[in-house]
Amino acid sequence: MNTELDDRALLELLPWYLNGTLEGAELAAVEALLLRSAEAREELEVLRRLAAAVREQEQAYEAPPFELGWARLQRGLQQEARPAPRRDWWKPGLAAAAALVIALQLGILMRPAQVDSDWQLQSGGSEQVLSGGYRVQLRFVEHAQWQQIRALLLELDAVLVDGPSALGVVQVHVPADKRFRDGQALLQWLQQQAVVQHAALLAREQP
């Protein structure tokens, strides 16, 4: 009796013996069954014919044309709100990693700047002439491309000092440049750049 139950359970495995996915003890047991049981061999033959007929019929259903389906998927991808790496800049918690990545990309070493203790925010107000360079606060427009930001910072030979903050504000050190007679001139130039949404002169810095 126990053997009959086992044989019934083994017969149920014949479809997977047929498709080659049985392994180990199950495979060995089914092979032993097929050796001793004519009923099992007949059942296997029925399944073999049935499987062949099923494969032939199921093959008749074709997928939609590849290029049409791919074009549809591409439209879906464009609608996906997949954040671009540059936007990850502004996410809290990623600022430190983003700053390091930027510094590495620019080939710029981040170095602590010695800030004059007597600094005041200068943005359109009275200016304080700073020597050795300026600490500038910048916020870029939302659609700014990384290449544009990079080009701006390289043109100024700027160094990223802090940020980006949760609001996307960075502080950079800009060395003294003969193009700008003073901090205000630098500020005006920055505010005219298409990628800059906001610029503020924070302090002078010691080299």
Partner: protein, 187 residues
């Protein structure tokens, strides 16, 4: 055609590589479409599920943990999306498969019955289409996709025993159906 393994393609997709997604789509769009069609019986709906599944792959590629074959994981998503579409569009068609498991398959067909099925294509298709979805999916995944019964159980979220039972019933129903259509072939 990419020579990357399925897992390698998924890793590239997780990194935002759309070319990898295209290669993945090329490799699996037929599998996903055909499996979805077995549930939905409608080409347009199956194409919609195909699109949703591939978008899901784009979103979730990084979550693939490698604990199953990529194809198994993919077909699990396909089954979920197919059922979800049925719920949204045709809720009346959703059947409680579990309640149907105990249905008797009818008289058992003798194992000695051998039918020249290769010449009876139209009848085979007709009988396949009469199978309940859960039964047809097991037959399709076994004989067409050549998956193991544990993989089928994972895709369909059913126990191993249920996979075997559905196959047993499907086989009996197919043979009974063919006997009726072919005018009762003698065992």
């Amino acid at each position: 055609m990419s020579t990357d393994t399925d897992e390698q393609l998924l890793q590239r997709i997780a990194g935002g590589d759309q070319r990898a997604l295209r290669q993945f789509y090329e490799r699996f769009h037929g599998v996903v479409y055909q499996f979805s069609l077995r549930t939905l019986h409608n080409g347009a709906d199956a194409a919609e599920v195909l699109n949703e599944v591939m978008l899901e792959v784009w979103r979730r590629a990084a979550t693939f943990a490698g604990q199953s074959q990529v194809r198994t994981w993919l077909l699990s998503i396909t089954r979920y999306k197919s059922i979800d579409l049925l719920r949204r569009k045709r809720p009346g068609e959703l059947l409680d498969e579990a309640a149907l498991e105990d249905e008797a398959a009818g008289e058992a067909c003798p194992a000695s019955l051998a039918i020249e099925l290769g010449q009876q294509g139209a009848q085979v298709r007709q009988c396949l289409e009469r199978l309940k979805d859960g039964h047809r999916q097991v037959v399709y995944l076994t004989f067409f996709e050549e998956l193991s019964y544990p993989e089928i159980a994972e895709i369909m979220a059913i126990p191993h025993g249920t996979v075997k039972t559905r196959m047993l019933h499907a086989k009996q129903q197919l043979l009974q159906c063919l006997r009726r259509l072919l005018g009762g072939v003698a065992p």
